[in-house]
Symmetry: C2
Subunit: 335 residues, 2 copies
DNA sequence: TTGTATGCGTTATCAC
DNA sequence: GTGATAACGCATACAA
């Protein structure tokens, strides 16, 4: 493998000069630069970044921890992170945590071992103390999901307002018996969406019925299971709000199983606006998050920390949007 | 940041000894080892891998290039790659190429700059000469998709046989007018699946009709478009084989739009067995690839190259399977 | 404008 | 069983 010395020899200069050319550093004569570039080309020289990174004590690599790369929600967020990263000459390392704190810790070794310069959590599993500990020692940002109480910057939407909007939409359509498909986890987003649900009911004078709250695990199957439970309830429901699109799609499937139709018999609202939300039959009404912007913002926040200009943690809230489709007011072709 | 010298000082030994303990190297007395470990703990020392990697001239990082991380097909393959990588103390770097050769080249810099020790292509976009060039200089494996003619190892299924099986299944159900939703790309898999389609027809004495072949782009929408085209054809079709599940799901949607039902009026077969294939309504008959095993095999192949034990390129073919669900023989709840 | 020399943190070779 | 030390490839402070 050819190294900087070989280039220096061929170009008839010192390694320092080659290094200066490589880094577009100041003060190297046009003539010398040309010679060096010629030598680089001639030898097909590729700088060894292992050396450079050691010397500069940086990896130019960002750790991005997410539960599952195949979750369609995250792909746009990651795209935003990556675009900003690349623009600043960083690479990103995507790592599946499988929503498992021990796996998360495993990947954090990359931070501690200086193989990455910062970390973005898309859905942290660590306890808030552990997370704060990371945040104190390394550039850290939480993105979408975040841990309440951890002293770490985050970027998110207002999940409370979003939950409220989703349910208000159903109420405005005349629904009074509205089931909720939530999750038993400790995500702030979950609790806030649930709180928004309750507040919307309250504001409209609809009595809260705890039997209308069911708990899934973000999977299609759990969405079906929860919906069946709601449909079998005494008094039933006329609408369902699921805190994720995948569960909402499962719920629609359960409705059809009972030979009922969406939205005629049961209206359904999801959350996230994944691509499948507009491929489902009927197409799903849902809350859309500005996924790409969330990703960009998170990466910019991280860069500020890496550059050292920002120390205190910041909390950024971006705008969501209700996307009304067939599952609440449209006409499904199966009706 | 504390380094190996600090540890040596505290433990009262030389850096060499600390290094030996770190690497479980032979010949260090139990007593010394204990002292060193105590110092490591006391200082909360984390080895700086930038230094180690430079010294060992390796990155312990594998580049994994795929068109799009959110493509559900790839997630299991990646899981297989990752599991084997982790077992061998390698990390993987997932990179979106967006099916763009120039982006692919961008990421290949990580190889050339020694920031990764090998590369696995899930769907190479490079020309076969460029790919061969990479294969000659760096440990390289193609996984799932591969470029014909490139002298680079690959792991795949027999797409010809799989296409044949899919279509034969439809023929066995009595179908004679079978539309194909293919793609205009240069993937070997595409051509082979198409060839399998033609061969199955031929073997059953069904005349080939070129109007029955349509071309999408792997998207849901293109699946709808192609299906509409087939349904509007003079003579129509009674079955559709799509070379990807997503397009097959789009096709089913188009069938419903025309107030026809799957499978009663039109039978549909997909390819890949993504998770949504069993969530669609009706559930999709499809060809299943052993995604996880493909990933494991690819990574093992790469490790052999990295270790230097294998030089010539190898081509490994794994078994596929036809999964029969509601879209061809089942009973859809909408019928 | 350019060269010399040092050091980043680690491992590995060679003595002892 | 252990220590001294050179080396990995590069960037940079300092000298010239």
């Amino acid at each position: 493998m050819t190294n900087i010395q070989d280039v220096a020899k061929v170009a008839g200069v010192s390694v320092a000069t080659v290094s200066r050319v490589l880094n577009n550093s100041s003060s190297v004569s046009a003539r010398t630069r040309e010679n060096v570039l010629k030598a680089i080309k001639e030898l097909n020289y590729q700088p060894n970044l292992l050396g450079r990174n050691l010397r500069r004590m940086e990896a130019r690599m960002i750790l991005v921890l997410l539960p599952n790369i195949s979750n369609p929600f995250y792909s746009r967020v990651v795209k935003g992170i990556e675009d900003v990263a690349r623009k600043n000459d960083y690479f990103i390392m995507l790592c599946n945590t499988d929503s498992d704190a021990s796996q998360e810790k495993l990947y954090l070794k990359l931070l501690k071992n200086r193989l990455s310069d910062g970390v973005i959590f898309l859905a942290p599993e660590l306890k808030k103390e552990e997370l704060s500990e990371i945040g104190i020692n390394y550039p850290t940002v939480q993105c979408c999901e975040y841990k309440e109480g951890a002293r770490v910057s985050h970027v998110t939407i207002d999940n409370y307002a979003a939950g409220y909007n989703a349910v208000k939409h159903l109420i405005d359509l005349g629904h009074k018996r509205i089931g909720l498909i939530s999750c038993r986890n400790n995500f702030v987003s979950t609790k806030q969406r649930e709180a928004g649900y309750r507040k919307a009911l309250e504001d409209s004078g609809i009595d809260f019925d705890s039997r209308l709250i069911t708990y899934g695990d973000y999977s299609f199957m759990s969405g079906m299971r929860c919906a069946r439970q709601l449909l079998d309830l005494e008094g039933g429901v006329t609408a369902i709000f699921a805190i994720s699109d995948v569960m909402a799609i499962g719920a629609m499937r359960a409705v059809k199983e009972k030979n009922m139709s969406v939205p005629k018999d049961i209206a359904v609202v999801g959350f996230d606006n994944i691509s499948f939300a507009s491929m489902s039959d009927p197409m799903l009404t849902t809350i859309s998050q500005p996924k790409y912007e969330i990703g960009c913002t998170a990466m910019n926040l991280l860069l500020e920390q890496i550059k050292g200009s920002i120390k205190e943690s910041r909390h950024i809230v971006l705008e969501h949007e209700l996307i009304v489709r067939e599952s609440t007011v449209g006409h499904s072709m199966n009706n």
